[in-house]
Point group: C2
Chain length 220, copies 2
């Protein structure tokens, strides 16, 4: 694996890219990072992900792997000698996959609509977002990490969104620390890991970016 | 595994349930089938899938596994001695997962909207559906099965929709056999398998069901 060529096409604010960066760091995989604005659609992005033309794309020895959750599975399988990402038990694995899918299917939409909408729609979206935070906190329960004692797949899947939490709080007018203390303790625990901290974007820079997006989406 | 208790909560027209039935049959797993109308939300369904309250739910020794693609992975891992479902190579596995996700993220919506919409929306949906069929045919290429020489994960993921093909053709006013001959040859190849044939619902019964749904959705 020493001569592997690993490239990550990613865009700095992407919660999905942050996941992949965490996983690569957990495994100690060195890679070349290529900043790729997904609004631009560079020839390399189109070549590597012709179907969705989205980042992140992980390119391993010339072969593209698309979609962040699929990348986590791939990274875990290929670099299997370092810290495992997915649980080894099939049932625990199915639960981790279920909740990661929940995050992208249910949590994702209100997580950005909370800063992109106004009025009645905003109120409905905020309510939904808070419900999903609650659900995710309940699923964590009193475990240190989602998978139990060890940081892994579902922690990565949700911590990918961490850089966006402050923007959600600002435009949603709520405090994660006040409303979800257990989840907050968990985020602090995850933030003790270098793999997590180094992968995350600065929360204030995300807020500046959100102002740009709000103009783009006509919400400001 | 001989004393395993396996229950499948499923509803006969579900393309997702048909996938799981195919996978269980491929592995030779015996199970109890419990017909579960997802519009009704039985106490057992709510208990086993409290988040989405959707079928299919695979219950293995009392533990629920939700979401059909996650079930395929689970079945492949737990009953690993019989015919493999996923490719063993991590890159091929990532491709199979990518395309299965494409089917549910992109193909699914137009696959039902083609019989649930009218007028301009219908025309747009039909165009999209045909494009996705073309994309899926191109991905198959000249391979006998999606994974190569052996029937597996992505074949199951797409063949789950087969019982609905006739309804798509009828309300979309197109012929899969004429437009997508390579895909048609592949469906015929898959239909030679008992695991597939036994899992599928009758296409004409699906069309009758579509008439019921069209009334429900106000499209008739």
């Amino acid at each position: 694996m020493a001569n592997d060529q690993v490239i990550l096409l990613d865009y700095w604010p992407s919660m999905f890219g942050m996941r992949t960066k965490m996983a690569l760091a957990e495994k100690g995989v060195k890679y070349e990072y290529k900043e790729t604005d997904p609004w631009v659609k560079t020839p390399l992005l189109i070549e590597m992900n012709p179907i969705h033309k989205k980042i992140p794309v992980l390119i391993h020895n010339g072969k593209p792997i698309c979609e962040s959750l699929i990348q986590l599975e791939y990274i875990d399988e290929v670099w299997s000698d370092a810290s495992p990402i997915l649980p080894s038990d099939p049932y625990q694995k199915s639960r981790a996959r279920f909740w990661a899918e929940f995050i992208d299917k249910k949590f994702y939409d209100p997580s950005w609509k909370v800063w992109a909408t106004m009025g009645e729609e905003h109120a409905a979206v905020k309510k939904e977002l808070l419900e999903h935070f609650k659900t995710l906190e309940t699923e964590l329960g009193d475990k240190p990490y989602y998978g139990g004692e060890v940081f892994g797949y579902l922690d990565i899947a949700l911590m990918g969104y961490y850089s966006w939490f402050k923007a959600m709080e600002k435009f949603g007018e709520f405090s994660i620390e006040t409303e979800f203390p257990i989840l907050t303790t968990w985020t602090k625990r995850c933030l003790e890991r270098e793999s997590v901290v180094k992968a995350l974007a600065d929360s204030d820079r995300i807020i500046e970016y959100v102002y740009v997006l709000r103009k783009k989406f006509g919400a400001a």
